[in-house]
Every structure is written in C-alpha cells, then in structure tokens.
Assembly symmetry: C2
Homo-oligomer: 346 residues x 2
Amino acid sequence: MDDSSVARQPKRQARRVSMADVARLAGVSSQTVSRVSNGHPGVVMETRQQVLSAMAELGYRPNSAARALKWGEFRTLGVILFTLSTTGNVRTLEAISTSAAQHGYATTLLPVAAPTQDEVHGAFTRLGELAVDAFIVIMEVHLLDAATVSLPPNVQVVVADSNAGDRYSVVDTDQAGGSGVAVRHLLDLGHRTVWHLAGPEESFAAQRRADAWEATLLDAGCEVPPLVRGDWSAESGYRAGLALAEEPDCTAVFTANDQMALGLLRALHEKGKSVPRDVSVVGFDDIPEANSFLPPLTTVHQDFAEVGRLLVEGVLRQLHNDSPERGTTLVPTRLVERASTAPPPA
Amino acid sequence: MDDSSVARQPKRQARRVSMADVARLAGVSSQTVSRVSNGHPGVVMETRQQVLSAMAELGYRPNSAARALKWGEFRTLGVILFTLSTTGNVRTLEAISTSAAQHGYATTLLPVAAPTQDEVHGAFTRLGELAVDAFIVIMEVHLLDAATVSLPPNVQVVVADSNAGDRYSVVDTDQAGGSGVAVRHLLDLGHRTVWHLAGPEESFAAQRRADAWEATLLDAGCEVPPLVRGDWSAESGYRAGLALAEEPDCTAVFTANDQMALGLLRALHEKGKSVPRDVSVVGFDDIPEANSFLPPLTTVHQDFAEVGRLLVEGVLRQLHNDSPERGTTLVPTRLVERASTAPPPA
DNA sequence: GGGCGCTATGTTTACGTAAACATCACATTG
DNA sequence: CAATGTGATGTTTACGTAAACATAGCGCCC
C-alpha cells in the first residue's frame, strides 16, 4: 500500500536546466539570469531579451526547491482532513484553496484515510516532511488530542470544526446559534416540540448541533424527544425517516445536515406523510441542491467561504508574526426559509 | 486580490533549528544527524540515542526544501482544476489524493478561479514556481489548448476529462458508452425516443454525453428531439423540467448529471407529472444521494476512484520513466437501475 | 579634466541536506 | 606483533538560487 518507505534515490535523470545553463547560453552571469527571472530592475532591455530567449530555448523553469531553501518558505499551506465526502469539508477546502490562492499560496492536501489513531499519527509524522509552511486541520478534536504529541513543533496551525480553542486558533460555523434558530423557527410555527436527527457521535459538529437542539428545547420548556442518530448520509436519513413516520406526535424534525433531510423526505413521502402539512423539516448546510428537494428545504445556511477565508487569514497571520494564537472565531449562520416548514396539523 | 507579486523578503524570523544545531547539542557531526534522521545503519545505539534526544529537545524538523533540492523531487503532485463545486471534480480529486498518498505523494491544489483564458494563463505561469513534481489537469480541453503555449516544458502531465489524447496522456470516464447504455435502456423500455438535458456547452464531458445520446438515437432510427441545455445545477434542471413538462410526447429524459435530474424531478412533480409513470428519467454520476431522490434515480455510475487511480499511476509512470505518454484510457461505467424508469404510458 | 555618483553586471557566499570520500580506533589474522 | 580489514564517525562538496558585496563603465559637475 504505502511505498513511501521504499529506498529513495536522488533522481539521476537528465539534470534539469539551471540558471547556470541559461547564463552560459545568454553569455551573462547567473546572477543576471536571477534578476530577470525575478523581474528585478536594473537589467538593460537588450540583456533582458537575450536572457529571456535563452530561457525559452532551454525551457528553463526555476527550481522551487532551491527557491524555497533560499526564502525559507514554500508559499504553500497544508490541509489535513479525513474525507472529501462531506459537503462541509469540500466547501471549506474550496474556500481555503481559493483564499490561499488570493494570498499567493498554494494548498497541499494531506488526506487521512480513516480517522483512526494510527492513521492520524502516521499523518502527523509525515507532516514534517511536507513542503508546507503552515497547517490547517479539519477534523474532530478528540482525534487531534490523541495525536497532539506528534504534531510537529514550531509550526503554525489553525483548526476548523473543533473545540480546541484553548490550545489552538479555531474557526468554526456557529453550530449552536444555527441550531437554535432552526429549532426556534419550528417552535414559533406552533409545534409542541422538535425531534432531532443527529450526525454521527464522533463528529464534533454533530455534537454541538445536538446539544444546542436540546438546550433550546429545554429553554422553551418543551419536552425533549429521544435523539435519533444518522451518519450524515441520505441513506441514514431515510432509515431514520421510516422510524419517525411511525411516531404520531412527531410534527417537526431538525436534521443535522441536508443530505439526511433528503433521505428523511423520501421516507416520509413513502409513508404517506406530507411535508410540510403533516411534518415540518429543517436541514443544516444549505447545499445548492436543497432548493430542489421535494419540497424545497428550509435549512440553516453555512458560510463556508467565510470560514475558509478566516482560516487562511488566521494561519497566515500566525505565520508572519511567528506566534501562535488561541481562541475560537464563530461564523454566523442564517436560516433560509423555503417550503418544508409550516404550522403543525390542526 | 493577488498579492503574490508583493516584494518577498526572506523570512528573517528566528531561524529554524537545523542539523547543525542538533549536531552541536549532541556533540556529533551533522552527517551523523543526517544518518539518524534517515534511519541509515552504522550508527551505534548510544550515539543514535543522543542525537534523537537532541532532536526532541530542539524540536528539530527536517527542512523539506533542502531535502527536495538534494533529491530533485518533492514527492508531490499538482492538480489543476477549476472548481470543487461539481461532484465529478471533487470525487476525482478525492481519489487522486488517496491514491497519491498510497504512493507516498502529497497532492497540491491549484485552483483556477474562472475558466477564462487569462486565469488559465496566469495559473500556468505560476505552475513553474510550485513545489511539485508533475501535474494532473482536470479541465476542459479547449481551455488547455489556449494555454498550451505556457505549459511549463519538461514536466509530466496527465489530463482528465479531455480529448487531448493525441498530445497528452488522458484518463476519462467512458462518457459515450455510459450515455449509450442510458439511452438504450430507455428505448428498450419502449419509449419512442429520448430527450436530453445536457450540461453546459463549454464542458467537454457534456459534449461527449450529448453526442453519444444523439448517435444512439440515430443508430436506433429514432427521431432526435431538440437538445435542452442546463449548467449542471439542480436549479437549471428545474427550469428545464418546467419546459419539458409542457412537451406532451416527452416520456423519457436522459439527464447529463444527477443534480440536474433532481431539479427535473421537482419540476415534473410540480407540474403533476408522475415519475416514472408519465416520464422516465435517467441521470449520470450516481452520486450517493441519487438513491434518496423521489423516486430513487436510475443513473449511470462513474468509477471516480478508478479514474483517480489511473491518473496517479499514469503520471508517476511518466515521472519515473522521464518520458511523456499519449493516448486515452477510458474507465467503464455501469447503469444502476432504480425506480425512475418504466415503460411509457399506454 | 579629475573626482563622484549612478547604473549595469559579475563574484562570493549561504541556505540545509546528504552523497562521496576520508579518517580513526580497534579487532582479527598470519 | 605488525599488517589488514571493518565499522563508526568526521570532512568536503554539490544541489540551484539570490542576497550581499564588488567592479567597471559612463556622464556630470565644478
């Protein structure tokens, strides 16, 4: 599987063209080539042209390793995450890479196959070898805890989707706020209480959403129905929906993400329950497809772009100040009202 | 926006600990530190221990720039893509990064904000500066054409989702085969012809699917209905669906991706058309949610994992042989039959 | 017209690592 | 016991780039 331990030999293939080669062809010193390559002033037009055409002729390409060695930086951010199969991770990654690009940084992915301790440990061990200036970690915090020992020192880190604000700089969606708004929206419509289809236990985000759901219900003096667990997938939402359809007093469901809501809608439909007439449903994420569900889904909109932007700015700030930061930054959510919620049946 | 042109100054922050520092503390030569760091034999246990504890005390982390300079490789692949908002790109990227990791390579993202020529040109210019050994390009081929001039020379490239097999090594899903199967499935059910909701014009994949749809219909001696264009989004599928619902003889639709099919289903439902009783629908991609659509969607399954695997293996092979390859490798698809297709109404 | 400053270019050096080569201590052997 | 080999460690060098410093040519001013 992993041949990274295979003996590494310096590649003795035809050596790449270097500044010296270009300099020789152009009849100048390599320093002049360097000046042209970096757009420095003080090179007369004629010389510049000679160098440029020599570069073109040889297919010169600056060696980023040597550059990085000289500069002490790669202009690259490393992103550690478990999976690209959840919307949140993908959209966050997209925002990170876009934002990083705007700051002149590339983004290197360090996928961790499974969120097991061994895998995480291995990933952090390999981290030190990566051509990366700083890291952004998108993962459940208890796994980060387990691996903390091997987190390379002297490296700036920012964490998403975590509660480790006491030890790292954390940026996260305001899970609690969003969940509260979702639940209160349903209560305001007149529902006596709200059921919750939660994400998997090991997810920090799922936990936060479930906690806020319960707190909001208690705060409003409502009964707290038993918690139903899914695993983020539409399929798990479908299974949960089949069960919830049997609960006669279940008139409102807050689902921890939109995919599960999709499955839930299908189950309710199959069971002959109409949404929103018989049951109201609120999702979380506001994926682009949510507007095309049957019916269009009322859901909590997450601003992934903002999360990504703050992550990148945070880690670059730490990098430039050469000092770590702590504390949690929450990105607000907003409720998007569509057609899946209504007052309870009379 | 882009501050990559801002004057770069070598970071004069507290210099990182180097082998020399470790060597000094451990009372050995830096070469011995190197030997320990790389697990070479021929270092006596006691010395090794001293070095290791000196490393730990100073928080030593090998400098990957110097390493890369020495070895001539970064063990990193660059992936150029336009967007992470389409399922295909995301899933392909996921497969690439996983497969690369198994070969001991990291994956660097080079997002191109918009598929305009300027953007692409800029991206390719920046490529040369990236700490990357080879590239995988996921993009529409005509844009690659426009930018070809500035594609860095002496670099191995593999392309996904393209028809540039005559100039590059290309790996792609068998778009034509998959589309043919989808259309024939509908014809076999007894539909007189099949309508097509295509992806955007500038997409190569969309073009291939549309071409195959038309060819299959002609091949079967069917009338070819006017082509309907979407933009991959569920919203565009919805708009197209509203129009198609007005076509009395439209009993079967082949949709170029699953998201558009979702929107189409909503539109048909709103217009009082039952799927599959009145209209049959086939999608493309087989996203995880397709099974939870109303009704569960019959669709063409793409093996993104295989595409990613082949891309990585192809580019690594080129890298190790130091010679480019050409030609196209097609990854087969398969039809997943669910509940959205049936014989036409009597 | 000689010194001064400015511009264009060349030379030296350092970045951190690791291969290649050099040395040294000690054990083995004839 | 001296010659020889062997294993552990140190020294030199090169990777490609770019900052810092050096130099050479030239116009300008008093």
